[in-house]
Amino acid sequence: MSHGFFLWPVQASHHAKEVDLLIGGFGVMVWLLTLPVFILIAVFVFRYRTGRDANRDHASGSNVWLEVSWSIIPFLLTLGFFVWATALYFDLRRPPAGAMTINLVARQWMWKYQHGEGAREINDLHVPVNRPVKLVMISQDVIHSVFVPALRIKQDVLPGRYTTMWFTADRLGIYPLRCAEFCGTDHSVMGGRLIVMAPQDYAGWLARNRDGGESETLAAAGARLFRSVGCSGCHGAASTVHAPPLDGLYGGPVGLSDGRALIADDQYLHDSIMLPNKDVAAGYRPIMPTYANVLASEQVNALVAYLKDIGAGKPGTRQEDGNE
């Protein structure tokens, strides 16, 4: 066993330290509540064992106040931890505004990543240190789950739906990344590494990988797709088809034809491409064909990156609300 034995996993983020503190605190409370019980059981069994002379007078059959107090006090103590743990969890679900986005596509049995700057990789994920990274994840087949023990985070990756996870790794190094949701034959070897690099190293890594033939950013790849698969035919400025313009769409509210409204986020764009009839924008007919059998998940990610690009920072330029 050359790898030896370790007791506590590495902490590679502030969040990891917080989780360890939480479980440590909880552990202390657990011992405080249970140790007296175990000791009492041992003492009682020893002291009142049959044949031993002990005072057994006035053994009570019940005591309501005792019952209420040993129900309520542990419950209240636990509630404190519930609040703490829930607050941490909510933080984990709210990425900071400036987080860099990396797309992840999972399939049996590998992870594929698309960096915004255009680099792609499989299984290993390179990220810069001390910078919030948001993973936007989708699966091509079954449910997978990204698990980075050093960061104490995990999120299932679902087919047909984006899930997200964010982290700020604050310690350079190479950490294992595993699939936690059973996903078929090679589940246990569906792994990878999270490689946390200094910013300049990360920049260098990106540049090297761009030079390797992928010179365009993800959004640029999306722009090319936008033309090549025919999106621009209807959604382009010169089009005669009555289709919603997409400039400035991302991040703003969209009114739907059935009266609902939602925010044009990644999921909305994904669904509009793959399931165009699901949420039809108000004032348009459901004439868009589905691209579910045309585009791979990575291509959809590229298109969404492009639409984000042309949508970002330009709220209010959308026209479809006043179109009809």
């Binding site: 506590w8 019980v37 002990a54 057994r56 007078d57 129900s71 542990p74 519930f82 059973f182």
Partner: protein, 549 residues
């Protein structure tokens, strides 16, 4: 025949003393019996058989995990082994274990009835269970299934290679056995209590079986329809759970856990009932806080239905729903804690007989507390995100299901063995077995808590080499545990032939089941018992009286 005569108890000519074991020796008298005691024996033999199969799969898993590369099996083979282990252990051993063996045998005796309310239905439910079991065995022989016992979609419906449809049909069929048992228990407890057996005089074993029957009746059908949809999806592409067709895999998880979380309480509630009996009998003392323990059983059964979403904290479930489920999961711990505190208080000023049943009961309490509190950790959102789907979870639910339920099952088997068979077993060997099981269990599963926190996901065939030491310790513990489980098989079977004959009440316990002979006559009681006292009516102030008895 006038109703009045029937009401007053049995006419004198019906009095009979032949034990149920001697009332007929033909195969027919066993396989077509409607005697709840014989059906309990049929169940006992069948669940032990399935325990062996599930245990064999566990042994293969632990053997395979001795090396990080998993040299014994292929990835596919390993997946099939743990799926088999889970499916057999959950549906064919743990769920029927205590209710259908001990419960079937003891419930009518405890409440002073001659049988369960629907004796033929009881036999039918055993046959349904056996049919389901045979289908499950056919699946095993036919190559198995590689979905895990949870059948998560779309893996199970679209991608798995094994015999998924046949497996879910087997589980579906076994569900009907469960539902019929639940109906039978509830009706029996309502309508067949002996005169004077009021609700406040019911033994706690009955209360916990009443609670578990509620879950049987209300949760199992949801599993049935869910599995039916999985089978239909697998065979015809219904698509309700398949994202490729617009369905939602999380819907499967909601429906599955709506059953399967309460199913955990199906496994542990009867065990809690057993422990209440074992503790009071060993301590020769009334249970502390009878009503709190009784109501806690019902509360667990009800609140247990409201917490299923804690299996889905990282699944993509809405985080607001997660927060609600997390809170409710904290709440469900309260009634469990009440029970543990009350058992402890029961020991205070008792007259404690340190025999094997007590050792099993104390083992249960320790392991259940460890399992329950790690469950509380898993209910904490931020902690769960890290340890979800790791060995931490595996260790947690084995502490509850194996450390809790199986330990209680062994305790119950020892405690009621003289009643069931009319023979006494070797007490020394039984105490040794109880200790071996306790030690073996902890050596097996405690390292898995550490493995989980360090980041070892569950259902991994090939694992990182740094986890090998803990895995080897765990496998060594499993070998010890296997020895512990094998020991009772020898001395209990030995007692059937050579054990001394048991008196009617070898423990000096209260309870109607101890007032009839060991083994009981075919119709349980030679005279209709009339209850005039509460349960656990031990002479509190005069513990010495037992010595004279």
């Amino acid at each position: 025949m006038s109703d009045a005569a029937l009401d007053m108890g049995k006419p004198a000519e019906e009095v009979e003393d032949i034990s149920y074991l001697r009332a007929g020796h033909s195969l027919r008298s066993w396989f077509l019996t409607t005697d709840h005691k014989r059906i309990a024996i049929l169940y006992l033999v069948s669940i032990v058989f399935f325990f062996l199969i599930g245990g064999a799969a566990a042994a293969m898993i632990r053997l395979d995990l001795l090396t990080p590369a998993g040299d014994l099996m292929t990835n596919e083979g390993y997946n099939r082994a743990f799926s088999l282990h889970g499916i057999i252990m959950v549906w064919f051993f743990l769920i029927p274990s205590i209710p259908n063996t001990i419960g079937n045998f003891i419930i009518p005796l405890m409440i002073g009835a001659r049988d369960l309310a629907f004796p033929r239905l009881n036999l039918l439910s055993w046959y349904i269970y056996i049919v389901a079991g045979f289908i499950a065995l056919a699946v095993v022989l036919g190559g198995g299934v590689d979905t895990g016992w949870t059948f998560y979609t779309p893996l199970s419906t679209m991608y798995a290679n094994g015999m998924v449809a046949a497996t879910v049909i087997a589980v579906f069929i076994s569900g009907f056995s469960t539902i019929l048992t639940g109906i039978n228990f509830i009706v029996t407890i309502h309508k067949l209590r002996a005169p004077g057996m009021t609700w406040s005089r019911l033994p706690l074993f009955i209360w916990s079986h009443y609670a578990v029957s509620i879950i049987f009746v209300l949760a199992t059908p949801v599993l049935a329809i869910t599995l039916l949809l999985v089978a239909a999806e697998r065979l015809f592409g219904i698509g309700v759970f398949d994202p490729a067709l617009g369905g939602d895999p999380l819907l499967f998880q909601h429906l599955f856990w709506f059953y399967s979380h309460p199913a955990v309480y199906i496994m542990v509630l009867p065990a809690m009932g057993v422990i209440s009996e074992l503790i009071t009998s060993a301590a020769h003392k009334r249970i502390f806080g009878y009503w709190f323990v009784a109501i806690a059983s019902i509360a667990i059964a009800v609140i247990g239905f409201l917490v299923w979403g804690h299996h889905m904290f990282v699944s993509g479930q809405s985080l607001y729903a997660s927060a609600v489920f997390s809170f409710l999961s904290v709440a469900v711990a309260v009634p469990s804690a009440i029970k543990v505190y009350n058992w402890t208080a029961t020991l205070y000023k008792g007259d404690i007989m340190i025999d094997a049943p007590l050792l099993f009961a104390l083992g249960f309490i320790g392991l259940f507390v460890a399992g329950g509190l790690t469950g509380l950790m898993l209910a904490m959102l931020a902690i769960d995100v890290h340890v979800h789907d790791t060995y931490f979870v595996v260790a947690h639910f084995h502490y509850i299901m194996v450390g809790g339920t199986v330990t209680a099952f062994f305790g119950a088997l020892h405690y009621w063995w003289p009643k069931i068979t009319g023979r006494l077993y070797n007490e020394t060997l039984a105490r040794i077995a109880a200790i071996v099981i306790l030690v073996g269990f902890n050596v097996t599963f405690f390292p898995q808590f550490m493995l989980g926190y360090e980041g070892m996901p569950r259902r991994y065939h090939v694992y990182p080499p740094e986890f090998q030491l803990l895995q080897v310790i765990s496998s060594a513990g499993a070998a010890l545990l296997a020895v512990g489980y094998a020991m009772p098989a020898f001395y209990l079977l030995w007692s059937l032939k050579k054990g001394p004959r048991a008196p009617a009440n070898p423990w000096g316990a209260t309870g109607l089941e101890w007032t009839t002979s060991s083994p009981p006559p075919k119709h349980n009681f030679t005279q209709q018992p009339v209850v005039v006292r509460g349960p656990y009516d031990y002479p509190l102030e005069h513990p010495a009286s037992r010595a004279n008895a």
